[in-house]
Subunit: 386 residues, 2 copies
């Protein structure tokens, strides 16, 4: 396949924003172009990942809207939706467009504006990413779905909730060094113990927040990468896989088969193995999801992810730093932006531009973006410019 | 670019259906596989065009849902949304995936379930494909937007509404021979004169209906095409372009620049010109849109499309048959399905399988799928197997 590189990356701060949907997307997109030293006129196609702008802000058909706001009126522009994996799926679309030889310069944007919607309605809108007819309509919203996974995991492997605490505490600590993060607030096990229960065993601090935000990357054909201002980050591999939306059809709630398949495809394309990865940005929409992710990605054996989290193996100075950005948990989770935001963070880390959250000696970074309760997963592997 | 062919095609009947969203999509997808003599297990990726299943039927994340219902759980599956051009945009995504060399066999589905929503709400949902903040929120829904285009066109070129009548009468007549069409009802100029005004000059019979429906095609790499049951239809060219959602930003309401750009790209890729086209399925969401389309596609000069419609140049036996299927006007317009349905009709025509609506000697067929009031346009050119 044709080589592709990331030459520009930017994101808005995640959290409650005064900016509108289109203002957020435009800020991130312009940031990525500026980062690359590129002019808007160089962009040949736009892919926009967004989950549900129609319900959140009454605006569908967002891809040409954002292209037009950027002054890119006539380029092909396409919105991609795969629930909370919309961002990384838009990235895959951009990869395919360049690999097909159609374009050399493609802008990938992820955006969501969630905080202008009443919270109860937001919970319903998010639940439409699960199987509405069979599960969410009768009350299984996402906190419940991931609580079932947490119960299954804790029961199967004999853990207490201290492994969940470890993820929340670590990610809140990591976010302290991330200026783009929604929360800058260290938390303790006592804070978690005193926080409201959402869906047993998941408390408020086990859940990622409702957020506004946008992120963007500029993708270019490998041979064009040298024409831009920043060192190119190489896309070495990616994998996408799907699964049933409905949990009742899954034989095992302690793993996401789509994540395993996506990871296998990404590792195979990149020709690397889990032990080669320097850091991972994973989809911790709930704390349990990060633990399961570290197993699905092959960093730990089934059942060992909980102990690894507890023992600090996923902290900044651990065996495999996971979510140095703070993750969805503390960086925030504007759903359509999240997958692109992970790629932005990986790009900053690979360039050595991650400031106070920089991990030393990053050679390979992995991102893991999940839609729904695992019906979509996209894994990417990025490497430093040779 | 790698050659791609259509080897399977199917659609549900358009109109008010008792089937659910997922049942419609599955019926069309299974139909396309059966048509090709393919097994579900041969499909390597799914692209699903759908406009707003979240608001219409409370179900987002529809791509893995449909993949799963088809027993294709772990293949990559992606929803694409570009308003009423979602279907053709999904086709473009499928083309890119094969051209990139990632897959050899890709299923493209378009689906929408609209009739279970109250009509006033449907008008609002559709208006979210226009610029909500600046136009639709204050009342410019699509009948109004296309009425402005019609007024501009009639005024600029000095026509009366008989040119609109000609489109509606022709497309209703064509649909009589289409078993998949929503309406099997011939109409007269008198029927139109007696019908309710929707947005001056557009009456009820100038507007495409609200519909349920789904359509699917099986795309394969050119060298794999001989392994399937039906003659391959070759994809010779395609083009996609965007424009401002807001009408107030358009300098001229009598043409869609995105359609002109998409057509130019498709003609260039195919190496053909408008006069080579045997028939066209165009996006007549309103009668005026068909007239403008025939000019944007280069069949007629600006201002001559109205006279061509009046004189029968676009009828079944005219210079360039337009919408032999009945078009959106009479075949129906389940928005996400429409663009894929156009490709299904073109495939049937190129294979000589269009029954009572077959056009003689079809060598090249063109499809033209528009999103919103022209902020997205996708044009494709298909040819008979060599």
């Amino acid at each position: 396949m044709r080589e592709v590189a990331i030459v520009g990356a930017a994101e808005t701060r995640f959290g409650k924003s005064e900016l509108s949907y289109r203002e957020l997307a435009v800020e991130a997109a312009r940031g990525a172009l500026e980062d690359a030293g590129a002019e808007p006129g160089q962009v040949e196609a736009l892919f926009l990942g967004s989950y549900s702008p129609g319900t959140f802000v009454h605006q569908e058909h967002v891809a040409p809207l954002i292209a037009s706001e950027l002054g890119l009126s006539h380029i092909p522009s396409t919105r991609v939706e795969n629930a909370c994996a919309s961002g990384a799926t838009a990235f895959v679309s951009g990869m395919m467009a360049i690999a097909a030889g159609l374009y050399d310069v493609v802008l990938v944007v992820g955006a969501e504006k969630m905080t202008s919607t009443p919270v109860a309605e937001t919970t319903r809108i998010l639940a439409e990413a699960a199987d509405w007819e069979n599960e969410s309509k009768v009350g299984l919203t996402f906190p419940g779905a991931f609580a079932l996974m947490a119960q299954a995991y804790l029961h199967k492997y004999g853990y207490g909730r201290e492994i969940l605490d470890a993820v929340a505490i670590k990610n809140h600590a990591n976010a302290l060094a991330n200026p783009y993060a929604q929360f800058h607030k260290a938390i303790t096990a006592e804070d978690i113990a005193n926080s409201p229960m959402v869906a047993d065993p998941l408390t408020l601090y086990d859940c990622s927040p409702i957020s506004d935000g946008a992120a963007a990357i500029l993708l270019v054909a490998g041979d064009a990468a040298r024409n831009f201002a920043k060192p190119a980050v190489r896309v070495l591999g990616f994998g996408q896989a799907s699964d049933s939306l409905a949990l009742y059809r899954r034989p095992d709630l302690t793993t996401l088969p789509a994540a395993r398949q996506a990871a296998q495809r990404a590792y195979r394309m990149a020709g690397v193995s889990p032990r080669d990865i320097s850091l991972a940005e994973v989809h911790d929409c709930f704390t349990i999801a990060e633990i399961i992710a570290t197993e699905d990605l092959g960093f730990f054996e089934p059942g060992e992810g909980g102990e690894a989290a507890r023992a600090g193996a996923t902290s900044r100075d651990g065996q495999i730093p996971v979510n140095p950005s703070g993750g969805l948990k503390a960086k925030g989770h504007p759903v359509g932006a999240t997958g692109v935001g992970q790629l932005v963070e990986a790009t900053f880390q690979l360039r050595g531009e991650a400031g106070g959250r920089q991990i030393d000696g990053v050679e390979l970074a992995l991102t893991h973006n999940v839609g729904g309760s695992g019906a979509t997963c996209v894994v990417t592997i990025l490497g430093r410019a040779a």
